[in-house]
Amino acid sequence: MDVAISTLLSPIILFFALGMGAALLRSQMSVPEAFAKGLALYLMMAIGLKGGVEMSKNPLTVEVMLVLLAGVVLSFIVPAISYFFLRVTTKLDQTNAAATAAHYGSISIVTFVAATEAVRMSGLDSSGHMVAVAALMETPAIVTALFLANRGAKRETPVAGSERGELIREVALNASIVVLVGALIIGWIAGEEGTARVEPFFVGLFQGVLCLFLLDMGLSAGRGLRQGWRELSAATIGFGLYMPLVSAALAAIVVMMLGMDTGDGALLITLAASASYIAVPAAMRLALPKAKPSIYLTLSLGVTFPFNVTLGIPIYIYLAGLMSGAGG
């Protein structure tokens, strides 16, 4: 519980709260899009490099491969479960339910980072390859969601102006995957020594940049909530709160089955429980333009993200502790 409290009072979470508060009080302040996008690039480069450097220290084992595979499988399955819950408990139509489901199957890299911090603050360790797991879990959910959205009625001809493969390119080569995986490989190749000279930038500043970025996320989340909550029924909001726990439970089983240790387990659970708010919304504009951002974004960024970074992560660490105890 101590960890929970010190997490909640860390500057990172406090700046998120500041942004959210400012937005709810209708402050007009904003972080320019170009600047925020630059910071997001920085964060992904830093995470990737760090993971790669750590991976360069250990050989790639079968256990690691299994964790990567498990992440992919989770990302394929979670949207199906999400879609089921959404269709049964809310009034969302097929398209909106599928689009929302894609968000919950994919991951939030900032939630992942926050969990990494919390894991560290709990005195636990985590491994570099979890970054690779995060990158791999971004995309599969979109495949499942598109399948769900397009069951039954479908256009037979592609929409005017669309190009074969544009969606795959957009999704599989989006900025966050390219930068995460690219930086991971660079960190792996360059190793600790090779990256020493970029450490002051990528390691030293990381926490501070994260504060600035979370201020912006708080503003976005708060504004989304303030403008979008009217479109969300109680059942939909409820989904944003219990779905992370459902995914977490599923991931917890995986953690136990694979005998992962607590730190990595907590990260895998967090990834499963987190919902995308950058890569998937962008992909949905191309793949399911009729789905409403005011539903899926408000839910993912306004409801699930705040839940995860405050209450969720401590729960997931606790859960991972139980599971790794049980499994090992």
């Binding site: 904003s30 005017a160 102006g161 190009e163 957009e170 976005s220 950058i278 974004l297």
Partner: protein
């Protein structure tokens, strides 16, 4: 001065390459894409600087062309806009160098 048509298409930023391909395939000689900052439609407001996902960003595409090509382009845009949100208008303009369009 010569009579030409001006298409103005307001569309999701994510879909602007689709629109661009339509303009190109219909023989329009060029187009220019302007970023939007904020907007309102269907009861919802959006703003570039307050949406970290950038998924609601819109752009405005301007393209000048002759009547025949503009008509052809509008047909295909109608199909695109059946899927995507957005608004398209056509208006009369006068240009200096008719051979460019």
């Amino acid at each position: 001065m010569y009579q030409r048509k001006r298409i103005e298409l307001i569309i999701e930023k994510m879909a602007h390459k689709r629109a661009g391909r339509i303009f190109e395939s219909c023989g329009m000689t060029g187009y220019t894409v302007l970023p939007a900052l904020a907007g309102y439609g269907g009861g919802n407001r959006w703003s570039r600087d307050t949406d970290i996902s950038a998924s609601r960003d819109m752009v405005v595409i301007i393209s000048i062309g002759d009547v025949a090509r503009v008509t052809e382009t509008m047909t295909q845009l109608e199909d695109l806009l059946g899927e995507h949100i957005g608004v398209v208008t056509v208006s009369d303009v006068e240009v200096l160098r008719p051979d460019r369009f």
